[in-house]
Subunit: 205 residues, 2 copies
DNA sequence: ACGTTAAGCTACGATATAGTAGCTATGAAT
DNA sequence: ATTCATAGCTACTATATCGTAGCTTAACGT
């Protein structure tokens, strides 16, 4: 109660409060939220902690986002990582490249550690579930893209079911990353692709 | 503060506190914890809520479990659902039956809705991760069992890799249940099994 | 009958969180 | 220079949680 007399609003003595622009504040907040999301999952993102990390006052956060879920939503939006679709000339080649890229992201991407918490939230929140399956479809749209190209080339039957193939490739990769927690090396990825395609489509003998 | 004078420990007026035995108390607590687990995930299991639902006093809960994680552990332990291994005579038949059973549990089992929260916790807690991959292996041990039988019959090469096959079947099923959130019908399950086994082993033409 | 065990109760303290109120001070446009 | 939007501050309410203390009382074995 010694220096209280200057009242609220007076700048703190020590750490000079850096004053930032509206945009800088939003960016800093989202960056902190993103960081928290990857470190601690959805439930780890609290206004208090975002405020602490970003240096943005909690009241300021509330000026930009009306509620916790609004901030969360923006934070999650940031990292819908769309896999880039390779173009190797052959369907098998494209698929292998795509799968290797996915495996890469699963292992190194900080996104992969936040994913389960989003899935979990989706179990109980229809809005989250909806959002999740939409961004999920976007992320794996590469499978559809390379299949279309292969169909255009005549390499693939026009009625080829991409959905099954996506499940046959992404499934085992996700499975190893989050459920069995086994290694996800390139050899495994290649075996998955071969098994998913079947031995008939190239005649590698 | 009208009836307070009877002091602590006096039974409440209205809802007669049912006095239960030690075993009944533990059972009721675990049942409530299990229920909460499936409804709200790991983070939804709090001592306060378990107490509320089970009618067991919170202090009594602490007499049985030293901490929240201890109760959680016991609650999770309850539902490691081990798939029963079918015996149809052929590897393909066994595998199909096993996969259909798994799909069934994924869709109807309340366990399936709690799983993501456990996976999520495992991302950040090594102990949980260890526990998870152990119970996970137990749950899918049926794959190893039917493969061994097939090997004993000479139906399968002795060096057949069960781990890859498990990933090729459980992966797509899990994928549809938790990630793409698509239908998990029998036809899909059968297609997954066929693709995983390859067309070579039965010659269905 | 009696004593031990353990369930139940109220009441804490500590912490983390969602939000809000009201004020001050600063940066940029005017 | 003045004004205006807005970042930042303290402080608060309300709630949910973990975990503990101390007491009373019912059930059960002897």
């Amino acid at each position: 109660m010694s220096t209280k007399s200057r009242g609220a609003g007076a700048p703190a003595k020590g750490p000079e409060p850096v004053r930032r622009s509206k945009e800088a504040v939003k960016a800093a907040s989202l960056a902190a939220a993103y960081e928290l999301l990857t470190e601690a999952g959805l439930s780890g993102v609290s206004f208090d902690e975002v405020s602490r990390r970003s240096g943005v006052a909690k009241t300021t956060l509330y000026r930009h986002w009306p509620s916790r879920s609004a901030l969360l939503f923006d934070a999650v939006m940031q990292f819908a990582p769309r896999l880039q679709t390779p173009n190797t000339g052959s369907f098998r080649g494209d698929l292998t490249a795509l799968a290797l890229g996915l495996a890469q992201r699963l292992q190194t991407g900080r996104w992969a550690s936040a994913m389960p918490s989003i899935v979990d939230a989706g179990e109980r929140d229809a809005e989250v579930a909806e959002f999740q399956s939409r961004t999920h479809a976007g992320m794996l749209s590469g499978f559809g893209a390379i299949a279309s190209r292969a169909q255009a080339r005549g390499e693939l039957a026009p009625d080829f079911d991409v959905s099954d193939l996506t499940a046959a490739i992404a499934g085992p990769l996700f499975y190893r990353r989050w459920f069995s927690r086994q290694e996800l090396d390139d050899a495994f990825v290649r075996r998955v692709v071969e098994r998913a395609l079947g031995p008939d489509s190239s005649g590698h003998g």
